[in-house]
């Protein structure tokens, strides 16, 4: 059976190559950073929790000291790229489309045919496994078709990786922070505070506090999934459903979406907000968030109205 462990070995191999190329390029900080990450992928499952923790501290130390630099491996000029683009035409899109199509078509095929009973892929892991497979197919076919210099794909990947830099592991680091917050009982404290500031007797204001709690706690955690169980337990279920008799389906579904409005406004949701700013080489790290606030705020108001109307006015 193909499990995540296979993907970790594969990914570890990629980071190891990037580490070695950084070494050759005399970028010592980058070599150490990507080398440690390669070690995490290749050996993390066999290290103790403490050793993994020390590895995390070392990664953060390198990034915190500013030792991670952008790199500039040899590549084609703008004129050459324009000429290639004219020569190759729209066929250039095909390798790029292989990855999402393999992930999507493969997931559908796997789940809706007897293939899922074969147990070939680990349960609920099929999309990422198929995404990785699509990446390998796309990379191989692009290399066979374009015949680039041997190291070109790895070097172009390194250019992009170094332009993303530390932001590349921020999402993973934030997930780890979420786990520590949970261990320290931060959710229960927030839920207690939110539950205590509810004004008595007003359904509408209770809906507002519930939706506000979802958005704010999501902004803190970077993730509506962490906020939902806390806010549902503090306000959604005891007050809105049991106290005021609201429709639980609306309160649950739209409450979560009020949290998603928070996701649009926080640097803590790094893979959606910070990583793309790095990928697009924007000067302002928060540029994506700035474009999202103007949508998130009115949409949050819509969610409050939808909960109030759908769960109470239409329900009773």
């Amino acid at each position: 059976m193909i499990t995540y462990e296979w993907l970790y070995i594969l990914t570890g191999g990629f980071f190891l190559v990037w580490s070695l190329l950084s070494l050759r390029d005399a970028k010592w900080g980058n070599a150490a950073f990507w080398g440690l990450l390669a070690a995490s992928f290749l050996f993390g499952s066999h290290l103790s929790d403490f050793a993994n923790g020390v590895l995390v501290l070392a990664l953060v130390g390198i990034a915190g000291l500013g030792l991670l630099k952008r790199s500039d491996p040899a590549t084609t000029t703008l004129e050459e790229r324009q000429a290639h683009s004219d020569r190759l035409g729209n066929r250039l899109f095909l390798p790029a489309l292989i990855v999402p199509l393999t992930a999507v078509a493969g997931t559908l095929l796997y789940n809706y045919t007897p293939l899922s009973e074969s147990g070939l892929l680990a349960e609920r892991r099929e999309t990422l496994i198929l995404f990785s497979l699509g990446t390998l197919i796309a990379l191989t076919s692009a290399m066979l078709w374009l015949r680039p210099p041997v190291l070109a794909a790895a070097e172009e990947g390194r250019r992009l990786l170094d332009s993303i830099g530390w932001a590349g592991i921020l999402p993973q680091m934030l997930a780890a922070l979420g786990a520590v917050f949970a261990l320290a009982g931060v959710g229960d404290i927030i839920g207690g505070i939110a539950g205590a500031i509810i004004p008595d007797g007003s359904i509408f204001l209770t809906v507002v506090v519930f939706a506000l709690g979802m958005a704010l706690f999501t902004m803190i955690m970077g993730n509506a999934f962490a906020a939902f169980p806390v806010m549902a337990a503090a306000i959604g279920i005891p007050l809105l459903v049991e106290g005021y008799g609201g429709n639980p389906a609306v309160i649950g579904a739209v409450g979560m979406l009020a949290g998603f409005c928070g996701t649009l406004m926080t640097p803590m949701a790094a893979n959606f907000n910070i990583v793309p700013a790095a990928l697009l080489e924007l000067k302002d790290q928060n540029a994506v968030i700035r474009q999202q606030v103007g949508t998130a705020l009115p949409l949050w108001v819509c969610n409050v109205v939808i909960i109030y109307v759908g769960a109470f006015l239409l329900w009773s």
């Binding site: 499952s45 403490f50 790029a96 992009l160 404290i189 640097p267």
Partner: protein, 223 residues
């Protein structure tokens, strides 16, 4: 109740506001929060290491970078621009609105991996939006170019977030179902997912309007 663990949140907010390195901010917050909650430092480092290790799957997606980089070496971004330049009447407003709708509908069908920042936004959507904006407004100032790129990324996020919950087998729907069930309210995923539709429509209207108004603002600045 011990409110001290909340200091970690204050560190995150202050650290991001003062623009310290975010990795440094996050790990400091984790260590402080754990210690203030009464755990010893070694236990906090262990918890951090275990959680980082368990979440490695999040960073697997970076293996796509060599494909994207290689195609860019051979002019993928130039190609994306050429396609838009070839379409008569293409504007940034129309392009991003169509992408928003495409992302919402495909996400609602469970096809969330059809978009994404490394896969589609950087190599395709952002250069196309830039080309379309330049087609109607001429050469863009750096500041406006940044806005168009950021709006492309924002459109991907908003299309994804406010489409995916209409698909009943998505993780967030299953989480809502699980939480309500544990309190004695059995709900079906379908009961929940239909209630994602009103918000999805609002999201399309609000964000579609904001895309158009950015397009119009660029026009005025260029005039």
């Amino acid at each position: 109740m011990n409110y001290w663990p909340l200091a970690g949140i204050a560190i995150v907010v202050a650290g991001f506001a003062l623009r310290f390195n975010p990795l440094l901010v996050v790990v400091t917050a984790a260590l402080v929060t754990g210690v203030l909650a009464g755990l010893d430092l070694v236990a906090v480092i262990e918890a951090l290491g275990k959680a980082f290790n368990d979440n490695r799957y999040i960073s697997v997606t970076w293996i796509i970078l060599p494909v994207i980089g290689l195609l860019e070496r051979y002019g993928l971004q130039q190609r994306a621009r050429a396609v838009i330049e070839g379409i008569r009447g293409a504007t940034m407003g129309k392009l991003l609105t169509i992408y928003l709708l495409f992302r919402q509908i495909t996400a609602a069908l469970g096809l969330t991996s059809l978009g994404g920042h490394p896969q589609t936004v950087r190599p395709l959507v952002a250069p196309m939006a830039e080309a379309a904006a330049e087609k109607s407004h001429g050469e863009l100032a750096d500041e406006d170019r940044e806005k168009v790129k950021a709006m492309s990324a924002a459109t991907d996020n908003i299309g994804l977030f406010f489409g995916e919950d209409i698909f009943f087998a998505i993780a967030s729907i299953l989480l809502i179902q699980g939480v309500f069930e544990s309190y004695g309210y059995p709900l079906t995923p379908l009961q929940l997912s239909v209630w994602a539709i009103p918000t999805a429509i609002c999201a399309f209207i609000i964000h579609g309007w904001r895309i158009r108004s950015l397009d119009r603002r660029l026009g005025r600045a260029g005039a």
